[in-house]
C-alpha cells in the first residue's frame, strides 16, 4: 500500500486509508527511537529541505530528528538565513530551493497557501506543510490523532473538544477536519472573539463555557494563546482570560475521570492551563511530542516511496 497523495498539504486531502497507513507506519518506526543506536539506513542518500520561514523550534527539530533517524540528509533554511528579507519573491526563493535537488521540501510559512504554491511549482518534489499561517498543520493533527488512539484505543465516537484561540489556530483547523473524518464528535470552546465566521460549518458543536465543553468531553485539547497575535482586542487581559477560559482544577471538577488532556505546545503555563494539570496524570502532552517524531518519520518514509513497514 502507498499513499494516495504526493504531498501532505491539508488534512482534507488524506483518505482514511492514508491516515491508517501513516499511523501504522509511525507505530512501527517509533521503536527505532528507543534503540541504543537510533538510526536506520532506510532513507540514505535522500535530501530533505527544511524551509522554516516562520520561527519554530519543536516542529523543526521534530522533522530534523525524524529525517536523521532514517539517515536522510537535512538542510535547514530559516527566514533570517535566507534572502527573503532582501526583496526576493516567494517564487524566487522556491525556484532556488528546487535547484538544490531535494526529495522532500518541508515548509512552514506565516502566510496561508504558500505550501500549495511550492507544490504547484515543483510537482516532482513532495511537499509537507509544516504550518501555513492560520490555515493548516496536518502533521500536528496526525500526531494528535495517534496520541488519542494510543490513550483511548480508538477515536470514532469520542467527544473531542478543542478549546482556546481557534481563530488563529492552524492546529485547530487541521484537527477539526481530521477528527471529523475519523469519526470523532468534535466540539470547540472559546470566547466569541476566537470563533471564526461560520465555524459551525465544520460540523462541530460550539461552546462558550469551558465547564459545559469539559462535561461532554473524552479528550480536551487546549490551544496556546499566541500573545504575539493578540493586537486585535480579542480578550481584556491574561488574568481575565485564564479566569474565564483557562483550564483550572475548578473546571476539572466537571470532567470525566478518564478525560485526556492535550496541548500542541509550547504551553503558556498558568494562562490557558494550570501547571498542575499540564504536568498531571491525565496529560499526554509529552506523548504528543514523542509521537510527532514517529509520525514525521512515517511521512518521510512513505513519501520517499516506502511501502508498508514490516
Amino acid at each position: 500500500m502507498t499513499l494516495s497523495v504526493k504531498h501532505i498539504l491539508s488534512a482534507r486531502d488524506l483518505t482514511k486509508k492514508d491516515v491508517d497507513l501513516i499511523l501504522q507506519n509511525a507505530r512501527a518506526l517509533k521503536e527505532i527511537s528507543y534503540r541504543p543506536i537510533k538510526k536506520v539506513p532506510t532513507l540514505r542518500g535522500k535530501q530533505v529541505l527544511l524551509c522554516f520561514f516562520e520561527d519554530s523550534t519543536r516542529t523543526r527539530l521534530s522533522f530534523d530528528i525524524a529525517a536523521k533517524r532514517l539517515s536522510a540528509d537535512t538542510a535547514v533554511i530559516t527566514k533570517s538565513g535566507s534572502s527573503m528579507a532582501k526583496g526576493e519573491t516567494i517564487l524566487d526563493t522556491i525556484k532556488n530551493l528546487a535547484a538544490m535537488q531535494a526529495d522532500i521540501i518541508v515548509i512552514r510559512h506565516k502566510e496561508a497557501g504558500v505550501p500549495w504554491e511550492v507544490a504547484k511549482a515543483f510537482p516532482q518534489i513532495s511537499v509537507i506543510n509544516a504550518g501555513d499561517g492560520m490555515h493548516e498543520h496536518p502533521t500536528q493533527a496526525l500526531l494528535d490523532l495517534m496520541t488519542i488512539q494510543d490513550a483511548k484505543g480508538g477515536v470514532a465516537g469520542l467527544n473531542v473538544t478543542i478549546a482556546g484561540d481557534i481563530f488563529h489556530s492552524r492546529v485547530a483547523r487541521s484537527n477539526m477536519i481530521l477528527l471529523k473524518k475519523m469519526g470523532a464528535k468534535v466540539h470547540v470552546c472559546a470566547p466569541k472573539t476566537f470563533l471564526p465566521a461560520d465555524i459551525d460549518k465544520y460540523g462541530v458543536a460550539v461552546h462558550t463555557r469551558l465547564e459545559n465543553a469539559v462535561k461532554a468531553s473524552d479528550v480536551l485539547m487546549m490551544l496556546r494563546i499566541q500573545m504575539e497575535r493578540q493586537d486585535g482586542f480579542f480578550f481584556p487581559s491574561a488574568r481575565e482570560y485564564s479566569k474565564y477560559f483557562g483550564l483550572t482544577r475548578e473546571i476539572m471538577k466537571f470532567a470525566k475521570r478518564d478525560l485526556v488532556i492535550m496541548h500542541p505546545g509550547p504551553v503558556n503555563r498558568g494562562l490557558e492551563i494550570e501547571p498542575e494539570i499540564a504536568d498531571g496524570g491525565q496529560s499526554v502532552i509529552l506523548d504528543q511530542v514523542e509521537n510527532g517524531v514517529a509520525v514525521r518519520m512515517a511521512l518521510l518514509y512513505l513519501l520517499c516511496g516506502g511501502k508498508e513497514h514490516e
Binding site: 516567494i90 517564487l91 496561508a112 490555515h135 493548516e136 471564526p196 461560520d198 486585535g232
Partner: protein
C-alpha cells in the same frame, strides 16, 4: 472638413432615449446628424469581426457596422494609471491604450500616485500628458487630504481650477469624520463631489478577503462587509448634514446597496458605482490562493452579488467602473497576505458585464447607460451628451455575440493581474471614437498616438 459616416448599426443611446437603426454622421469632431434607417450601400460587415473596416471617401470615411451596437462613449470613472511614481505597473500612455481598447472614451484616474495628485500642478501635468497621448480623454481625480494621510485638506480649490473631476483618497479611507465633513462642504463650494472608498480601517484591520466561511477555511483574515457599510452609513449621514454630493465607489456588499437605496429614497445626495469583478465573482474564487483574486473591497458572497445586480437594475447603483488597478509581478507573486490588492479591468469590463446581459440579469440598454453615465453622475451634469446633434463625437461601437477569450498576454495594459484569465466570453469592442477620431479599431488596433 473631416467626416465619418457610421452605417448600418443599431444605435442604443439611453441618454437620449434612442433605440433603432440609424446612420451617424460625424463632422469635425461632433455629431453632425443621425439618419433614420439602415444604409445598405456599404458591403462590408463589421458586425462580425472577420470583415468590416472603414472605406475612405472624398472627405473622410464610412464605417459599416452592421450587426453592431452604436453606443454613447463609455466612461470609466475609477482607474489607477500609476503615473507618476509606479510606471512599472502602468503609465498614462499604456493606461489610455487599455482604455480605448476596452471601449472607454473618457476615464478618471485616482490620485494615489507618487507624488500623490493632491495639487493643481500635478493635475495639470496629468492632463498635459494625456493630451499628448491623445486616445481616451482623461479626468484626474484629486485628493481629499494632503498625501492621502487624512490629516489635512489637500489644495481642493487649486485642484478644481486645474480640472479635477472629483476628490478622493481612494485606497485609503478617510477615518476622520470631521475632516470628511469639511472636505465635502469645501469641495461642494467648488462643485466637486467626494468620491469615497468606504472602509472602516479599524474594523477591516489586516483582513485580506471577505469575512465568512471561505476565509475561515482558508485561514485568511476577513474583511467584514460591516467595515464598508459603517462608512457608507457615515457618508450618507454626512451628505444629509452638509447637502454635499458623495459618490460611493466600488460598492461591494448587499448591506451597502440597501443603505444607498434607502438614502436615495430620502433624496439624500449620494450616488454609487460598482465594478465588473464584484458582479461575477464571489469569495469562492479565492480558494487556491491566486492573488489575482485579492481585491479591496473583497469579492463577497453570492447574496451580495445578487443584490448588486438588483441595485444596477433599479438605479441604486448609477454606474459601472472598473477600479482598474495594475500591479506588477513583484506586487502579486507573494503570499496572499502580503500581495497587493487590485485587478486590472478596463479591457475586460464590456464582455464581463455583457455576461449578465446574456444571462438576462441586466438589460442591454441599462448596461449601456451604466457604462455611459459615469461622468454625468460624478459631475451631476450633462457632460456626456450621448448621440445627439452637436454633441462631442465620443462613441463606442461593439457587438454582443463575438466570442472572446481573455488572454493577459494580448492586452494593452502594462500589468497582467486579471482575475479573468482564460475566461471565454461574448462581446467585443469594434471601434472607439473620441472627438470624431477612430482611436481604436478592432482590426488595426490603436491609432498612432498623436496629441489632441
Amino acid at each position: 472638413m473631416n467626416e465619418i459616416i457610421i452605417k448600418n448599426g443599431h444605435v442604443i443611446d439611453p441618454l437620449n432615449n434612442i433605440d433603432g437603426k440609424f446612420s451617424v454622421i460625424i463632422r469635425d469632431g461632433k455629431i453632425f446628424d443621425i439618419k433614420k434607417g439602415a444604409d445598405r450601400a456599404g458591403s462590408s460587415r463589421a458586425g462580425s469581426s472577420r470583415a468590416g473596416g472603414s472605406r475612405a471617401g472624398a472627405n473622410g470615411s464610412a464605417i459599416d457596422v452592421s450587426g453592431a451596437i452604436i453606443a454613447p462613449g463609455f466612461v470609466d470613472i475609477h482607474t489607477h494609471l500609476r503615473e507618476p511614481g509606479f510606471e512599472y505597473k502602468e503609465d498614462i500612455e499604456s493606461g489610455l491604450k487599455a482604455a480605448v481598447a476596452g471601449g472607454f472614451t473618457s476615464i478618471c484616474c485616482m490620485p494615489n500616485t507618487n507624488p500623490v495628485n493632491d495639487s493643481g500642478s500635478i493635475t495639470e501635468c496629468l492632463l498635459k500628458r494625456a493630451c499628448s497621448v491623445g486616445l481616451s480623454r482623461l479626468f484626474p481625480v484629486g485628493a481629499i487630504s494632503k498625501t492621502l494621510k487624512g490629516e489635512q485638506l489637500a489644495d481642493i480649490g487649486d485642484q478644481a481650477e486645474a480640472g479635477a473631476a472629483a476628490i478622493s483618497d481612494d485606497g485609503r479611507s478617510v477615518m476622520n469624520s470631521l475632516l470628511m465633513r469639511r472636505a465635502a462642504e469645501y469641495a461642494s463650494t467648488f462643485g466637486l463631489a467626494i468620491m469615497d472608498h468606504c472602509e472602516d480601517t479599524n474594523l477591516a484591520a489586516s483582513g485580506v478577503m471577505n469575512e465568512g466561511w471561505v476565509a475561515t477555511e482558508l485561514g485568511l483574515r476577513g474583511l467584514p462587509s460591516a467595515a464598508e457599510e459603517a462608512h457608507v452609513a457615515r457618508d450618507i449621514a454626512l451628505s444629509k448634514l452638509t447637502g454635499a454630493h458623495f459618490h460611493l465607489t466600488h460598492i461591494s456588499s448587499a448591506g451597502s446597496v440597501e443603505l444607498i437605496r434607502a438614502a436615495k429614497r430620502k433624496r439624500i445626495n449620494v450616488t454609487s458605482d460598482c465594478t465588473p469583478h464584484h458582479l461575477v465573482l464571489t469569495d469562492e474564487a479565492v480558494r487556491g490562493y491566486n492573488t489575482n483574486f485579492k481585491v479591496n473591497p473583497p469579492l463577497r458572497s453570492a447574496e451580495d452579488v445578487k443584490e448588486l445586480i438588483r441595485g444596477l437594475a433599479d438605479g441604486t447603483i448609477d454606474a459601472i467602473a472598473s477600479d482598474h488597478a495594475p500591479q506588477g509581478l513583484v506586487d502579486k507573486e507573494l503570499g496572499f497576505d502580503t500581495a497587493a490588492f487590485g485587478v486590472i479591468g478596463m479591457e475586460t469590463s464590456l464582455p464581463v458585464v455583457l455576461k449578465l446581459v446574456h444571462e438576462k440579469k441586466l438589460s442591454l440598454k441599462r448596461m449601456i447607460e451604466l457604462f455611459a453615465s459615469g461622468l454625468n453622475v460624478l459631475k451631476k451634469s450633462k457632460y456626456s451628451g450621448g448621440i445627439k446633434k452637436g454633441s462631442a463625437a465620443d462613441i463606442t461601437i461593439f457587438n454582443v455575440n463575438d466570442n472572446v477569450a481573455i488572454d493577459s498576454s494580448k492586452i494593452y495594459s502594462r500589468s497582467r493581474n486579471t482575475p479573468f484569465e482564460g475566461w471565454k466570453l461574448k462581446g467585443k469592442v469594434l471601434y472607439t471614437i473620441v472627438g470624431g477620431r477612430v482611436v481604436f479599431d478592432h482590426e488595426k488596433g490603436i491609432s498612432p498616438a498623436g496629441g489632441w
